[in-house]
C-alpha cells in the first residue's frame, strides 16, 4: 500500500524563507498568513489529506464511478463522506473572497494545499478543483446576481462546478462547437447540444452542480469570436435560491479511462436546458479563459503532486528492497545483498524526481504568489508586472510540469522493478493518473504554442524581457559570491540558451511559422529548466545563508544544497540539447511526406 506524507516543511521553507510572504503583510489576506497560522493550516490540511483522502485513493481507483440507469452517478465508496468532511472543515474557502464566505487567504497558500490534496487523491481533488475554477470565472465575469446566487454555495462546497468546452468533434479547436443557445422570453436561454469528457459532470457529492457551458447564440459569428458562456445549474434555483426543478441536462454515459477513475468523466446531454448568459454575448471564450488559466496552474500542480507521492514511495522502497551489491563494496555485509538505494542508477531516478519536485514546487508557489500580486499588489505597475509574469509562466507550469511529473512518476515506478507494474503496490496508478494532466486543459502541445505564439510576442515581449531581467539581476547580484558560483554559472549559461532561442524565434518564426510550431515544445522545456534553475539558485542562497548562520535545521539545508547541485549539474545542462532542437528549425520535422508515415 502506498503512503503519503505532506511536505509541510518544504512548503513552509518556500513560503517564509524563499518567497518571504511576510513582505506582503500590507496586502489583503497576507496579514493573516503569519508563520504560525500557515503552519497550523498546513498541518491540519496534511492530517486531512493523509488521514482521510489518501486511504481512499487506491480503493477509489479500483472501484471507479458508477452511472445508474436513471442517469445518476455515484462516486467510489467513501468519497461522499470524505467530501462532507472537506466541506465541514471549510477548506474550500481557503483563498476565496470573504464577501462570499471565504477566508481570503493568499493563493500561494492555496497552491500548497492543492498540491497535498492531489498527492493524496487526485481524482477526489478534481471535484473541488473544478469548483474553484468555476468560482474564479463567475466572480470575474458573472453579474452580481449570478455571483450572489451561486458563489457562496460553491465556496462552501455544498455546490460544485464544471467546465463544458469539449464536444465530440472538437477539443482544441473550440471555434467549431455546435451547442446552441436560444434566447427565451424570460431572459434565459435554451441550451441544446452534447458535451463530452466533462470532469465531475455528474456525481453524488454535492446538492447542486453548476455547469459553465460554451455555446453559440443564433446570430453568432463563425469561429472563436462567436462563442458565449452560460451558467446551467443541474437543479434550477427556486425563488428562495435553493435547488429546485431538475434541469434538462443529463449524464448520457461515463468514460472508461486510463486513470483518475474516482473522478466521473461524463457525456452531458443538454436537451433544451435552461441557462443564463454569463458576461457579454460572443465573449465566452475570453471568460472561460479565466477559468482555464486558473485550472492550468492547478493541472501543473497535478504533475508535481503525483511525482512527489510517487517519489516518496520509491525512496522508501529503495531503502528497503535488497538486491545486488554496491559497486564500491558491500554496504550491508551482514545481509545477503545491499538495499537498491546504493546503486547509482537508482539514485539517478530518485534524484531526478526529487530535484524536479522541489524545484517545480518552488516555481509553482512563486506562481501562486504572482496570482496574488496580480490581484492585490498596491500599485498598478506591480499588478501589471505580476500579471505579465504569471501569464508567461502558466503554459510552462502546465506543460513542463505535467510532462516531467509524468516522467518522474514512471521513474519512481521503475525503482520498484516488476512490483511497479503490479497493481497492489500502487505505483502504476500514479503513472496512469499523471498521464491525463498532459492532455486536458489544452494539450501540452497547445501550451507550447500558447507560449511561443502568444505569450512571447504579447506587448512587444514585455513579459519575457521582464523575466530575463529578473534572472540576470539575480545572477548579477550574486556574481561576487564564490559559494553561489556553482549555481549561478550554469543558470547564466541556461539563460543564454533561452535568450538565443528567443532571438532565433523572432528572426525565423515570422517568415516561416512552422519554425515556431516545431520549436515550441523544446522551447517550452528550455524555459521550464531556466525557471526551475532560477528558483533552485534562490533556494541554494537561502540554504547557504542559514548554514553560515548556523540557524535552523542544518540537515534540511544541507540536503537542499545537495539537491540544488544535482539540478545544476544533471538537469540544467539539458538546455543545450533543447537549444539545438529549436535552432534546427522546422525542416527536419516537416520533411517527411504525410503519406509516408
Amino acid at each position: 500500500m502506498p503512503t503519503y506524507r505532506a511536505p509541510v516543511k518544504d512548503m513552509t521553507f518556500l513560503l517564509h524563507d524563499v518567497l518571504q510572504i511576510d513582505r506582503y503583510s500590507n496586502l489583503p489576506g497576507f496579514a493573516e498568513a503569519t508563520p504560525d497560522t500557515v503552519t497550523a493550516i498546513l498541518d491540519e490540511a496534511a492530517k486531512f489529506c493523509e488521514g482521510v483522502l489518501q486511504p481512499l485513493n487506491q480503493s477509489g481507483d479500483a472501484e471507479g464511478c458508477t452511472r445508474h440507469d436513471d442517469g445518476s452517478v455515484t462516486t467510489p465508496t467513501g468519497f461522499k463522506a470524505a467530501y462532507d468532511r472537506y466541506v465541514e472543515l471549510g477548506f474550500g474557502g481557503l483563498t476565496q473572497d470573504p464577501d462570499y464566505g471565504g477566508q481570503g487567504l493568499p493563493h500561494v497558500l492555496g497552491f500548497a494545499f492543492e498540491e497535498m490534496m492531489i498527492s493524496a487523491n487526485m481524482a477526489f481533488a478534481m471535484y473541488p478543483g473544478l469548483t474553484a475554477g468555476a468560482i474564479a470565472c463567475l466572480s470575474a465575469t458573472g453579474s452580481d446576481e449570478q455571483k450572489r446566487a451561486y458563489v457562496p454555495k460553491m465556496v462552501e462546497g455544498t455546490w460544485t462546478g464544471t467546465m463544458n468546452l469539449t464536444e465530440p468533434h472538437c477539443g482544441t479547436d473550440l471555434g467549431m462547437i455546435r451547442t446552441k443557445a436560444e434566447p427565451q422570453d424570460d431572459g434565459s436561454y435554451k441550451i441544446s447540444g452534447q458535451k463530452i469528457y466533462i470532469s465531475a459532470g455528474e456525481h453524488d457529492l454535492s446538492e447542486n452542480i453548476v455547469h459553465l457551458v460554451l455555446a453559440k447564440l443564433p446570430d453568432a459569428p463563425e469561429g472563436t469570436r462567436g462563442i458565449s458562456l452560460f451558467v446551467v445549474p443541474k437543479f434550477i434555483l427556486d425563488d428562495a435560491g435553493e435547488p429546485g426543478e431538475r434541469n434538462a441536462v443529463s449524464c448520457g454515459s461515463i468514460e472508461h479511462k486510463m486513470g483518475i477513475h474516482g473522478n466521473a468523466t461524463c457525456v452531458l446531454n443538454y436537451d433544451g436546458a435552461k441557462g443564463w448568459l454569463v458576461g457579454e454575448p460572443h465573449k465566452g471564450l475570453k471568460a472561460m479563459f479565466i477559468m482555464m488559466n486558473a485550472a492550468r496552474l492547478g493541472v501543473g500542480l497535478q504533475g508535481i503532486a503525483l511525482s512527489e507521492v510517487a517519489y516518496q514511495n520509491a525512496a522508501d522502497y529503495a531503502r528497503d528492497r535488497i538486491q545486488g551489491r554496491s559497486l564500491s563494496g558491500a554496504k550491508d555485509p551482514d545481509a545477503k545483498a545491499d538495499p537498491i538505494i546504493v546503486h547509482p542508477d537508482v539514485r539517478r531516478m530518485l534524484m531526478d524526481a526529487r530535484a524536479f519536485n522541489e524545484g517545480a514546487r518552488a516555481v509553482a508557489l512563486w506562481g501562486g504568489l504572482l496570482v496574488d500580486l496580480a490581484e492585490k499588489a498596491q500599485s498598478e505597475e506591480e499588478r501589471q508586472e505580476a500579471d505579465d509574469l504569471i501569464s508567461l509562466l502558466t503554459p510552462v507550469i502546465k506543460g513542463v510540469f505535467t510532462d516531467r511529473g509524468f516522467e518522474c512518476a514512471t521513474q519512481a515506478q521503475q525503482v520498484f522493478g516488476g512490483a511497479g507494474y503490479i497493481r497492489e503496490y500502487g505505483m502504476e496508478q500514479f503513472v496512469r493518473d499523471a498521464r491525463i494532466a498532459m492532455i486536458y486543459e489544452g494539450t501540452n502541445g497547445v501550451q507550447a504554442l500558447d507560449l511561443v505564439g502568444r505569450k512571447l510576442a504579447k506587448d512587444n515581449g514585455r513579459a519575457v524581457r521582464a523575466y530575463f531581467k529578473l534572472v540576470e539581476d539575480f545572477c548579477a547580484d550574486h556574481k561576487d559570491d564564490a559559494e553561489m558560483a556553482e549555481f549561478t554559472a550554469p543558470l547564466q549559461a541556461a539563460l543564454g540558451d533561452l535568450q538565443a532561442c528567443t532571438m532565433w524565434l523572432m528572426q525565423n518564426a515570422m517568415k516561416a511559422p512552422d519554425n515556431a510550431g516545431a520549436a515550441s515544445t523544446p522551447y517550452m522545456h528550455l524555459m521550464g529548466l531556466v525557471v526551475m534553475g532560477h528558483m533552485w539558485a534562490k533556494m541554494a542562497k537561502v540554504a547557504l545563508t542559514r548554514l553560515d548562520e548556523g540557524s535552523g535545521d542544518m540537515a534540511f539545508h544541507e540536503n537542499k544544497l545537495i539537491t540544488a547541485r544535482y539540478f545544476a549539474k544533471h538537469m540544467l545542462p539539458e538546455t543545450g540539447g533543447l537549444r539545438a532542437k529549436v535552432e534546427a528549425g522546422a525542416d527536419p520535422v516537416m520533411a517527411l511526406a504525410a503519406d509516408a508515415f
Binding site: 506524507r5 516543511k9 503552519t39 497550523a40 493550516i41 498541518d43 491540519e44 472543515l89 474557502g93 477566508q103
Partner: protein
C-alpha cells in the same frame, strides 16, 4: 460547568526520535512538535461536553516553552475558549506540573480537569493522579467513557481484564485513554478564530511554584538493536530454543 484541559507539547508521534550525541537526552532541535495525542483526546472530550451543552467553558492550559502557545492554539482551534500558558523552558516533571495546575485550578474553579493519561515523551502517567491528590478531588483515570450527571460524573475505566465504571463527585480529575474518542481535525474557520482567542501568559513564579527538578538524567541511550532472528525447523526445535533462552 467549566472544564480545564492541560496539554503538553511533545515530539510528534510520527517522528523517529534520536538520542543526542552527548547522551544527555533526545534531540529536540528542528523536530516536529505537536500536542500530546492523549491530551488531544482530552480536548476533544471537553469540546464535546461543550457542544452537548454540558460544559460552558473550556480552558486549555500548558506548561512549557513559548512555542507551547501553538499547542494551546491547536486546542483553541478544536473548540477551546481561551488559554493559559505558564512559560517554562526546561524539562517539566509531573509533580511541579501538578502543583502549577493545582494553583490554576484554585483560580479558575473548574468542575472537571480532563487531561491525557500520560505524555508520549516521558510516559510518566503521574500528573493527573498527583493533581487529584494535591487538590483532594476524586479521580477517574484511563477513561474510555465520560458521562456527566448531576454534580457527579460517571467514568468508565479500562482496567486489566475489562471495564470498570465509577461515579465521581465533582469537581474531579479525569485522565483520557486512547479509546475515549477520536479527536477531530480543526476546521479552517476555527483555526482562524483561534488566532483571536486569548492566551494568558504566566510564569511559575506567578503561582509561587518551585520548578527545581527532583530527578536528574544520568544518561540516555538508544535501545539495543534487535538481533537477527533464527529460523527453526520444527515445533520441537522452537520449544528447545525457547527453553534454552529461559523463556519456557
Amino acid at each position: 460547568m467549566k472544564v480545564l484541559v492541560p496539554v503538553k507539547r511533545v515530539v510528534d508521534y510520527n517522528v523517529k526520535v534520536r538520542v543526542k550525541a552527548d547522551n544527555s537526552g533526545v534531540e529536540l532541535a528542528n523536530v516536529k512538535m505537536s500536542m500530546n495525542p492523549f491530551d488531544e483526546i482530552a480536548v476533544e472530550e471537553a469540546v464535546r461536553l461543550k457542544e452537548a451543552g454540558t460544559a460552558t467553558e473550556v480552558v486549555v492550559v500548558s506548561i512549557g516553552p513559548k512555542q507551547a502557545q501553538e499547542t494551546i492554539r491547536t486546542g483553541l482551534a478544536m473548540g477551546g475558549d481561551r488559554g493559559i500558558l505558564v512559560e517554562y523552558d526546561a524539562e517539566t516533571e509531573p509533580l511541579a506540573v501538578a502543583k502549577l495546575l493545582k494553583a490554576i485550578a484554585a483560580e479558575e474553579n473548574p468542575d472537571l480537569v480532563v487531561l491525557g493519561k500520560q505524555a508520549i515523551d516521558d510516559d510518566c502517567s503521574q500528573t493527573g493522579q498527583m493533581l487529584a491528590q494535591l487538590l483532594g478531588w476524586s479521580q477517574g483515570t484511563f477513561a474510555s467513557k465520560v458521562t456527566p450527571g448531576d454534580g457527579t460524573v460517571d467514568v468508565t475505566r479500562e482496567i486489566d481484564g475489562g471495564l470498570e465504571t465509577i461515579q465521581l463527585k465533582m469537581p474531579a480529575v479525569v485522565t483520557a485513554d486512547l479509546r475515549l474518542n477520536e479527536p477531530r481535525y480543526a476546521s479552517l474557520p476555527n483555526i482562524m478564530k483561534a488566532k483571536k482567542k486569548e492566551i494568558a501568559m504566566k510564569t511559575p513564579a506567578d503561582y509561587g511554584v518551585d520548578m527545581t527538578p527532583r530527578l536528574s538524567t544520568e544518561r540516555v541511550e538508544e535501545p539495543p538493536e534487535r538481533q537477527a532472528g533464527v529460523m527453526v525447523e520444527s515445533v520441537s526445535d522452537l520449544v528447545a530454543a525457547l527453553k534454552e533462552k529461559g523463556a519456557l
